[in-house]
Symmetry: C2
Subunit: 581 residues, 2 copies
């Protein structure tokens, strides 16, 4: 490709609404162009990256035996009503009516349609397993679209769906996809982790996220540097504490802590470690009648160590809280604790509450908690003496760095990631809802065992940039760079030698199948190099009259701090080496 025939559009400044670096750099490098909130044009430079991502995904999906189809963007509501998602999904599901007033949705995903295909097309166990995938436009009407392609409304996703005759067979399909994903992410040339994720109501361990590691990632990833344990923070188990509770050594007393309504404030005031304080979280559950009207509510008090954070997924597995919970209202808190939040604790309650104690709190002695009196805390609190031994003890907290790994092989570390892939065992959730069956070996109809597997095609370039950039711009891995090599001839219009050398190298690289761009725009050197450093093409060759006179050109990888002089007649071999050709 010659730059003069392409479309290069770079900007010095990012728009004001760009908050994260990938959004800023994608806008500045002209990869995307905003059309509306969360809706972007994919410009020529950006589309090249997206097409390379698609090609790698398609190749590996095909290699893994999946078969490509395309399901419509606009889908009839009927199928979505069969699974109940038409009603259940929130406003992020874009609903429309056609000219005849019939309901449709813009697909955010395609479980319903693919299950409808399967129940018509896959009639016998002999046709299984089957994995159908598409690379298709999706729409989710996010309340607050932001971060460019990271959380857009219209985006492209690769979504695959496997159909199997049994749970065991489904596990094979799942592992097959998991392997394909590793292959795909290896080929992208990004640092990533496959981490265990919560599989919600379906249960089991068959849910993993593929996270691209980046300091700016939305997700916290827990991993063990000494083993292959890795999990989403939501999912990561805390091991049961190994210590035992020390004996009580202090008497319980009330201390004035005016204006100190958080554990860190109290610990600082009292000059004690944060880990000796206990925080009180007040939740509530509602009991509904047939008509969905609340007939009774219960209040719950959760105790966690002051230096620990609540994990909502784990709390949601506590018996009594597993049908859904909410934070308690101010009125509920005051009627049970006789006090405003900030000074709450398990002592001196006005009305009984359901107490759930984190395992680490259950082995504490001489701890500190709110006194249920504004401006006061209790110190030297002890189980069995000042209040009864806790009867409900559970894992309620997020793990923290330094916790023991659940596999017993070391201590956990935490880093941040961006979810770009997800493999998920669905079971018969959709096949049951849609009565999707096949004839099993025993001659009877059986529900499909399903899995679903997504990759955020248009999110991936954003994640790649979050991981790979510097103050000058993007640094693409070779596999998904818009161009692999850029040739920058200086003063091409005025020097026949430069022109001849650049053209010869360009032709030689094209003949090798290298994705090369020749910058024939005749820009000033500074502007030219700034453009390509912003755009992030990994390999650059500068060709100048001065260099040619001494028989050299300059090679620089985008990660190099300086250019390397290479003999003019050795540059092709040098590039072949760098490109692994």
């Amino acid at each position: 490709m010659k730059a003069s025939q392409f479309f290069i559009s770079t900007f010095k400044e990012a728009p004001a609404d760009a908050e994260v670096v990938s959004h800023k750099l994608m806008m500045r490098a002209g990869l995307i162009k905003r059309l509306g909130a969360g809706i972007y044009n994919y410009m020529p430079m950006g589309l090249r990256v997206i097409r390379k991502v698609e090609a790698i995904v398609r190749e590996e999906m095909n290699r893994a035996g999946a078969v490509e189809i395309t399901m419509p963007v606009v889908q009839p509501a009927e199928l979505w009503q069969e699974t109940g998602r038409f009603e259940k999904m929130g406003p992020e599901l874009l609903r429309i009516q056609d000219r005849h007033g019939r309901d449709f949705v813009i697909q955010p995903t395609s479980e319903e349609v693919v299950t409808d295909i399967a129940r018509q097309e896959l009639r016998s166990h002999k046709q299984l397993p089957k994995n159908l995938y598409q690379i298709q436009t999706k729409f989710r009407d996010e309340r607050r679209p932001r971060f460019g392609l990271m959380r857009g409304r219209e985006f492209t996703m690769k979504d695959a769906y496997s159909f199997d005759k049994s749970r065991d067979a489904a596990q094979v399909s799942y592992q097959n996809m998991r392997q394909a994903y590793q292959q795909i992410f290896d080929r992208f040339g990004l640092r990533y982790r496959a981490v265990r994720a919560d599989s919600g109501a379906i249960g089991g361990d068959l849910s993993e996220e593929f996270q691209v590691i980046a300091a700016t990632g939305e997700d916290a990833i827990v991993y063990c540097p000494d083993s292959d344990y890795a999990a989403n923070l939501e999912k990561a188990e805390a091991l049961a504490p190994t210590g035992t509770r020390p004996a009580a050594s202090l008497p319980m007393s009330q201390v004035a802590t005016p204006g100190k309504s958080t554990c860190p404030d109290v610990a600082e005031l009292l000059g004690v470690p944060l880990s000796t304080t206990v925080k009180s979280l007040v939740l509530a559950t509602d009991e509904l009648d047939d008509k969905g009207i609340v007939v009774k509510s219960q209040v719950w008090l959760l105790l966690l160590r002051g230096d620990h954070d609540m994990n909502e997924i784990k709390v949601g597995k506590v018996p009594g809280l597993d049908a859904g919970f909410r934070f308690a209202t101010q009125a509920e808190i005051e009627s049970h604790f006789g006090c405003k939040p900030g000074y709450l604790g398990p002592l001196n309650l006005l009305q009984p509450v359901n107490l759930v104690v984190d395992r680490d709190v259950a082995i504490m002695a001489d701890w500190i908690c709110g006194a249920n009196a504004e401006g006061f805390h209790m110190i030297g609190v002890n189980w069995g003496r000042d209040l009864p031994e806790p009867s409900v003890v559970a894992d309620l907290r997020n793990v923290v760095a330094g916790d023991l790994s659940p596999d017993g092989k070391g201590q956990l570390a935490i880093e941040r990631g961006i979810e770009v892939g997800h493999v998920f065992y669905l079971g018969d959730k959709y096949s049951k809802a849609m009565n999707a069956t096949f004839l099993a070996e025993n001659g009877k109809p059986a529900f499909f065992e399903m899995g679903c597997y997504g990759i955020g095609i248009t999110r991936l370039p954003a994640a790649a940039i979050e991981q790979n950039h510097d103050e000058r711009g993007i640094i693409w891995p070779d596999a998904i760079a818009p161009f692999t090599v850029v040739l920058c001839p200086i003063g091409m219009a005025r020097s026949e030698a430069v022109q001849a050398s650049a053209s010869a190298l360009y032709d030689a690289l094209l003949a090798l199948g290298v994705d090369v761009i020749l910058d024939d725009r005749d820009e000033r050197l500074g502007a030219m190099l700034a453009d390509w450093e912003l755009i992030g093409v990994p390999h650059r060759v500068v060709i100048s009259d001065r260099g040619l006179k001494e028989g050299t050109v300059e090679y620089q990888h985008r990660r190099d701090t300086e250019a390397t002089k290479v003999a003019q007649d050795g540059i092709l071999a040098h590039l072949k080496g760098r490109l692994g050709l």
Copy 2:
């Protein structure tokens, strides 16, 4: 590809709603699957065809210097309000509101968005010409979607838009695209014609349709077998008649023609050629006030020869009818003619009408027309004697086979076609409406001169089938076949020789880059061959034990009536010859 790992789903019967052969065969061969009215899943076999069409289009668009982008499916209404199309377009434009109540459309085409990109990105004449294209999902909410992918609601289109600094430059871009289209359609391997089309209000000749020739096509195409003249019937000019009016030879008289209300009926009753009769068509025009209320209507009488059909485009160019017209109401007809339709004519009117006479009628003598009295016609009517010489004479009719070609090089013929491409000079229609300018050489802002260029990606396979099929199924051209070669081993599971021979040929073809499928499903021969004839793979090799014993396999092209025995060790060379490798 091995059939066992692919997705093959054929049906003996087509669904009842499939009216045209391409729809029937695409459903039966499992290329597409209906999801809703005019909405289809592209199944694996069909998607392979679509991807090949896309790849050819993309390659030739790139070669022609166009640059690929992707514009969103869901587009903000604001831009569509700038051109007025948000209001003006009928219900085929699917309109939606997002969760915040903002208006959006599902793109049926992208002139607004691409012009918005151009006005922001193309600031100087130095950046021109530029041609941006996309291959993207479109939606048009057709009132009566039908014929499968021929007239669906959701479909894929390649739409390109050129931006130029002058009308002359725009013509160069137009011709460049026209050439690329010829290249593309040549590569598809289909019989087609580029025909002149009406360019509506914009005028000029710069509008051509690419029509795939098929007896079942919706469009009539006029062409001259002895020259390269070709036009859509709407557009094709009738040459001015070369003859002169004969002298009147009959007196005018009224004859009873009870129940004979059409020209053919009258001609038959009277035993005269249809070309001696004249048909009367009554139109009306309305004059509106500021508020759009009709303040005055006029009635128009058009006279055409009984064997000719009215051409609405041509009628719409007659002064007085060029701002829009409608057919007259029953009341308007009776108040002016004193008679019901079927017996109308230009004589004995109750009120004056605007008379427009086709050129061929203006040179007739002794003609026949309605008497404006039910059950009666006039015969022996003559201009200048029985009614004044016509003052408004125009080309009002469709050409017919045998008319002289407008280029003077022979007689016109008519065949039918399916429009799958359109190249169109837009001028400054959109750039003016959206104030899209660039800085011209004189330093002043100027409006872009635009062109737009479409190809119906998902319609093309349907058109290809309409042109290429027989009673057994589809016959694909090599370039867009889902697979180029199918290997059909008989009894592969029971014969090592068959298996070895099939595998060797399969591997050899794969190594050559041939898109080959090996049918390893172990189906009965009859069922296997019926499947592949229905699906329409152009080249087939049958490998059997019996053949191998005498050292042969059987080759058959899908168009051949019989298989050809080919030496086993010569089949690869034979295939290479057939495939042009």
